[in-house]
Symmetry: C2
Subunit: 112 residues, 2 copies
């Protein structure tokens, strides 16, 4: 899945995450999205292109506007991949005794 490259690296940028957070509140046009940022419109357009390429948003054409909204594609793929790590961590947790033994920490309460 080479798409994960695009998805994760799209999410790595705080501006792009902020754009997504805004879109979480509903559809918006490019200028609407650009407004809160101290950044030029071309810069925002590029960020949106990255998000679109990663499958995180989709756009429709409405006259001269291109309203964007969130897309499920990338999120699903990411969730699936992260599942691998989550499962592994859960297993590690089952083996917590081993971990604690090797860590030899200052006294602290362990849970089960």
């Amino acid at each position: 899945m080479r798409n994960l490259d695009a998805a994760f690296s799209a999410l790595a940028d705080p501006t792009r995450r902020a754009l997504l957070a805004r879109l979480a509140r509903g559809e918006a046009t490019v200028l609407e999205l650009a407004e809160p940022f101290d950044m030029t419109q071309p810069a925002i357009s590029r960020h949106l292109k990255v998000l679109e390429g990663a499958g995180l948003i989709v756009r429709r054409v409405e006259g001269t506007k291109r309203p964007c909204r969130l897309a499920p594609a990338a999120i699903t793929e990411i969730d699936q991949w992260l599942g691998l790590l989550r499962d592994a961590l859960a297993k590690n947790y089952d083996r917590l005794d081993d971990v604690l033994a090797t860590m030899k920490p200052k006294p602290r309460k362990a849970r089960r």
Copy 2:
């Protein structure tokens, strides 16, 4: 949470994801991790440093070795953030009718 920058950008690299996938199968030393890759040891060391900085792995000291294993910190944070998008997507789905409605025909004149 500016840690998300580090976490997502750490995950954006396929080599680093492969390292994590390997660690999902259990603890491993730097050389063990480096072995499958057509890449020098310093390169892997750097990748591991990035993963550690992002809170995706932790390492302990065992003689001259530094076995790595997965850490839950970053995953948790990422999951939390993605929750925002997931929720929004779920809502968008509820409002699917609206979306379809706005997409509806807005007859235009043929031309050219």
